[in-house]
Amino acid sequence: MTALLRTEGITKDYGGVRALNGATVAVEEGTVAGLIGPNGSGKTTLFNVITGYERPDAGEVWFGDRAITRLAPDKVFAAGIGRTFQLTRIFPRLTVTENMLIAAQARDRPGNLLAWFGRDAWSQHRRRALELLEFLGIERHAGLLAGSLSYGQRKLLELAYVLVADPAVILLDEPAGGVNPTLVNLIADRIRLLNAQQGKTFLIVEHNMEFVMGLCSTVTVLESGAAVVSGPADVVRTDKRVLDAYLGADPDEEAAPDEGNAPGREEGR
């Protein structure tokens, strides 16, 4: 079995702090994989390494049989890996539709110069953008400035514009963080649909254990920058090391909200 996305022994130091210490994670094609671990265990750093925002000090990232370790973020995206950010990042002074159109050009680079200044070639992208907004239930806001959306709607928009370019793998950094339970269910449902109907592969970082266990077929646990456990969700759930990492580290987690952006919604325990 070969994994679609695989990191091998990724190590990353920030000054004297070792954020990743030989992290090896594999995601099979067509699965929804979870990546969990206490705050500061290196989950977001690993995402940054995979998507080209950080260069690892050691290790390789494989996408299929292609090494993408030192590609820039735009090249990684063009290769077929999309991501969302923990602190949701949209383009506040562009409209929702314009937000959607940015990603469209990664797939469709016009050959002639005039097309860069023309507008007509966009109609198909506009149609697709609207379909995706409908899919996520925010099509009514297509003409609004993205900065006027609520936090939950921004989360949906960020997921929608990553989908525009039709990436093979989608990395989601805390898709359920800081949003209400109804929206959490909606997001989980859409991920399931994309996985079942289009065979999209997901790698999800999330603290909401109910969300992870309900959605992911395999779960990898990261601790102190290394993958300590990996396997089917229900096996990982009862692993002693996982219980230690999570339940044991709980007081620290409450005291150090450095990674979280919204009031912590730790639930499902």
Binding site: D74, F77, F91, F117, R140, L149
Partner: protein
């Protein structure tokens, strides 16, 4: 829909009016003292628009546009001198000046565009001073006395008029480019970079290439109008070609009119340049008092109208028109009518109105 059509018709009418006034201006006011105002104002309309194509769209505030302006002027001066060109043939050098501006922008941008915000501004100022020093010290730039332009044997009474139309053509071309960029996917990428460059890169925007292209377009336009300015005032010196106040003036024009919009910098230039020229003729503003006054305007704009006349005025009009009802439909989530296919939900998520902004 009717308001939208009415709005675009009003816009089209206003544009037509501006064009007619601009074309007839030297016919109605043939006095050289008046056409001089026209020529210099149009030169600044071009420069402020060129500044806006790069800085207004990307949010990278360049204070090094004088690098292009001076380079364009010097390129024309040096080429005309060495190739012994005279009279109207010198105007054939305008594309050369534009090319020099674009070529200068490439190494300049490759260095400066690696950094953002304040560091970018500081580097553009540093590059600007390097160019001024080069103009002082190179063997081919004429040192501190600079270069004189070739002689034009046009009669003094109508000397300014051809320059007026050349500057008008440059200004119109510059505004056209700004408008095309604004509505294109290229412009969308620039504005995405302005909002969040790293996120844009993560969506496949090749940021360096896009920024550099905009910088080169801006540089080419600025260098070309710099050459027109040089031939118009007949000389260039290091302090006038590479003038530190030049960039501050452009930024003031763009901020006053409306930074980022196509019409904003045009309006800013139409206000500031005639005002500045008029103050220079008044004994009351002798010395550097006119610059103090412009600086005070800059402070007031930044403090009280940071987005400029065009966006602020536009909001005001919307407010007056929609008095009594909400101007913008509040961003609420989808109603129960729109259930996506094969989704088990009959209604969208009720997102609380107190969501993070």
């Amino acid at each position: 829909m009717t308001t939208k059509n009415g709005g675009s018709a009003a816009k089209g009418g206003a544009l037509l009016l501006v064009v007619v006034i601009a074309v007839l201006f030297p016919q109605v006011f043939p006095n050289p003292a008046v056409t001089n105002y026209g020529v210099l104002t149009l030169i600044f309309v071009t420069c402020a628009t060129a500044w806006n194509i790069f800085s207004g769209n990307t949010g990278y505030i360049s204070l090094g546009q004088a690098v292009f302006y001076g380079s364009g002027a010097y390129a024309m001066g040096i080429a005309a001198r060495d190739w012994h060109l005279e009279g109207t043939a010198v105007f054939a050098l305008l594309p050369l000046s534009a090319a020099v501006g674009a070529l200068t922008a490439v190494p300049f941008g490759l260095i400066a565009l690696r950094v953002r915000r304040h560091t970018f501004i500081v580097i553009t100022i540093a590059v600007f001073f390097i160019f001024q020093l080069m103009a002082f010290n190179f063997w081919f730039t004429g040192g501190s006395s600079g270069l004189d332009s070739p002689f034009l044997s046009w009669p003094a009474a109508s000397y300014n008029t051809p320059f007026y139309y050349i500057a008008l053509a440059c200004a119109a071309g510059s505004v056209l480019i700004a408008w095309l960029v604004r509505r294109s996917r290229f412009g969308l990428q620039l504005r995405a970079i302005r909002d969040d460059e790293d996120r844009a890169r993560g969506l496949g925007v090749r940021a360096m290439r896009v920024k550099l292209s905009a910088f080169a377009i801006s540089g080419a336009v600025t260098a070309m109008i710099g050459a027109v300015w040089f031939y118009y005032i007949n000389q260039v010196e290091p302090q006038t070609g590479f003038d530190p106040l030049f960039d501050l003036t452009l930024v003031l024009m763009a901020f006053l009119g409306g930074y980022g919009s196509v019409s904003g910098p045009v309006l800013g230039a139409l206000i500031i340049e005639p005002l500045s020229l008029w103050m220079n003729t008044q004994p009351a503003f002798s010395g550097s008092l006119s610059e103090v006054f412009l600086g005070a305007i800059f402070l007031l704009v930044v403090l009280f109208m940071p987005r400029g006349i065009i966006p602020t005025g536009g909001e005001l009009i919307t407010k007056i028109r929609t008095r009594g009802r909400p101007a913008v439909v509040p961003a609420t989530t989808t109603g129960p009518a729109s259930a996506p296919p094969s989704a088990p939900f009959s209604s969208g998520p009720p997102v609380s109105s107190g969501g993070a902004r």
